[in-house]
């Protein structure tokens, strides 16, 4: 790799880094706006036009607050907690392909931090490392509520990571590769994995919510039970890092969901666009087509970020036993079933085998609903 390629790669990495931070920053703003709009309010609208400077004001406040470390806390671990959280959150975006490739001096450079052939494994490794940020922080606070929050976070993440991993295996079987860019390339055009793996998508989405500690699975920080959960004792920018890490995780999860199931930068008619642009504009056209693909990818990411927020302001929190029941007794068996059915599908070359499970489940659900006793306690109509 010569110098130009190295420079371009560096620029790409820095841009991804910056974009991640900016998106995480404005996610806090978007969260408040979405929450407000879903609740018939207006949300922040005083700092700058439409309140657009609100994240800056929040960050400024975070910086100037007193940075307090409790006397009984384990000091170094207390500092290490938020650092780990934000470090792992930022590391994940390295393997996500944000676009096809840019052409520069007849060199094709993929729009990706780093291409590793075990991309998905890397993501899972780093994400599961992220639990330590929460656990270490909660434990080091020397506070019962923090510890409870940390324990909940740890057990929740461990149990949901299994279903998360299992739900992806079906995709890995169909693609035959662990590399994220390979998986995305495989969904060229409109052949998105969503259409082959509807069940896997729902399981992955649910588990992604749990991994990000987002409602309905935000047990580690449920305010009414645990004050602030694992970050009860944190203040100033350490708290800021925790909150920031949560939003970065949300962005990364959205990016991974869109690249695994919604075709990443692929969109219908992409070949036609690329051919026409390259024919008329040459290299610029090639880069332009890549930019369009990236824009599509970011559109998908933004939709999922919105979806995360939408769900947060719709669904109440699960109880802890419900959470565990859902994870261990429903999602993991379903994910395994999905793997088996997909395997049979691959064996007999039926691409849409996974739909069989969905169809059976719908039939069972309708049947159970029909058999259910009708009475005053039936579901309320709104």
């Amino acid at each position: 790799m010569d110098l130009t390629a190295l420079i371009i790669k560096t620029i790409i990495i820095l841009v991804i880094f910056g974009v991640t931070l900016v998106i995480a920053m404005y996610s806090t703003y978007a969260e408040r706006k979405v929450a407000a709009f879903l609740q018939d309010r207006l949300g922040p609208n005083r700092a700058g036009p439409f309140g657009l400077l609100q994240p800056l004001a929040d960050a400024g406040k975070m910086f100037f607050k007193e940075d307090f470390i409790p006397a009984q806390a384990s000091k170094w671990l207390f500092i290490l907690g938020p650092c780990l959280a934000i470090l792992t959150a930022l590391m994940t975006s390295a393997v996500i392909p944000f676009g096809e490739s840019v052409k520069f001096d007849n060199m094709l450079i993929p729009l990706q931090g780093i291409e590793v052939n075990i991309g998905i494994l890397y993501v899972f490794g780093v994400v599961s490392l992220g639990v330590y940020g929460i656990m270490v922080g909660g434990w080091a606070s020397n506070n019962k509520f923090s510890l409870l929050g940390a324990i909940r976070a740890a057990s929740q993440n461990i149990s949901y990571e299994i279903a998360l991993g299992l739900s992806i295996i079906a995709i890995l079987m169909m693609t035959g590769s662990l590399s994220v860019s390979k998986i995305v390339q495989d969904q060229h055009g409109f052949a998105w994995n969503l259409f082959n793996q509807p069940l896997g998508f729902i399981i992955f989405l649910t588990c992604a919510f749990a991994e990000c500690n987002r409602t309905p699975f935000d047990l580690p920080e449920c305010e009414n039970e645990l004050i602030g959960g694992y970050h009860t004792e944190y203040s100033s920018m350490k708290l800021g890092f925790y909150l920031f890490a949560e939003y970065i995780n949300m962005f990364i999860s959205s990016a991974i969901i869109s690249s695994l199931y919604f075709g990443g930068y692929n969109y219908p008619g992409m070949d036609w666009v690329r051919e026409n642009l390259t024919a008329s504009l040459g290299t610029t056209g090639h880069n332009l087509a890549t930019a369009i693909g990236s824009a599509v990818f970011f559109g998908k990411i933004f939709f999922f970020i919105f979806f995360f927020m939408w769900v947060r302001w719709t669904i109440p929190r699960f109880r802890y036993d419900q959470l565990m029941n859902l994870g261990w007794k429903s999602l993991i068996p379903l994910a395994i079933l999905n793997i088996v059915v997909t395997g049979f599908g691959l064996l007999y070359e039926v691409k849409y085998a996974s739909w069989i499970i969905v169809a059976v489940m719908v039939v069972l659900a309708v049947a159970s609903q029909a058999r259910a006793p009708k009475g005053a306690v039936s579901a309320q109509k709104v």
Partner: protein
Amino acid sequence: MQLTNRSKQVSNKEMTLAEKMYLPAIAQGLAITFSHLFKKRPTIQYPEVKRYLGPVFRGHHVLKRDEEGRERCTACGLCAVACPAEAISMVAAERQKGEEHLYREEKYAAVYEINMLRCIFCGLCEEACPKQAVYLRHDKFVPVFTEREDVIFGKNKLVEDVNNRYVRNNPEVKATPTEPTLSGAAT
């Protein structure tokens, strides 16, 4: 006794499979919240837009002048007596020659002070006043103060501005923006 028919019996019945899947209920809930995205917001942007509080709102005190611009207050002290919070105090003085255009009666309030920390805005001073001199404006709040010295409002803040008379029953004004005050003739 049943007041509404919205109450629901609590039950611990087994959930059906469809309910255990959560997804239909979640989709329903998402649809409800999504529909709220397009609802009209009832928010009023307060400092820029102000609600009309109604003609009976009791706000900032005003010491009225009469039609010729003379102060109506005669410093009888009935408002101070009526005041349950003992917020009003005054010093009476006798009108001198040449001051007839300033004060309506021979006696007037040289000092008229209301302690705004004590005032409970009950409006009893307004009722007690035999000269229709003191009113609580329906269109203006008492401004925020941050210093102890600003707590006591003297005549400089209370006496009506000649060029900007306060009218309570102004049929023209039904709408919201109320600051500065309504203009027009005295009551």
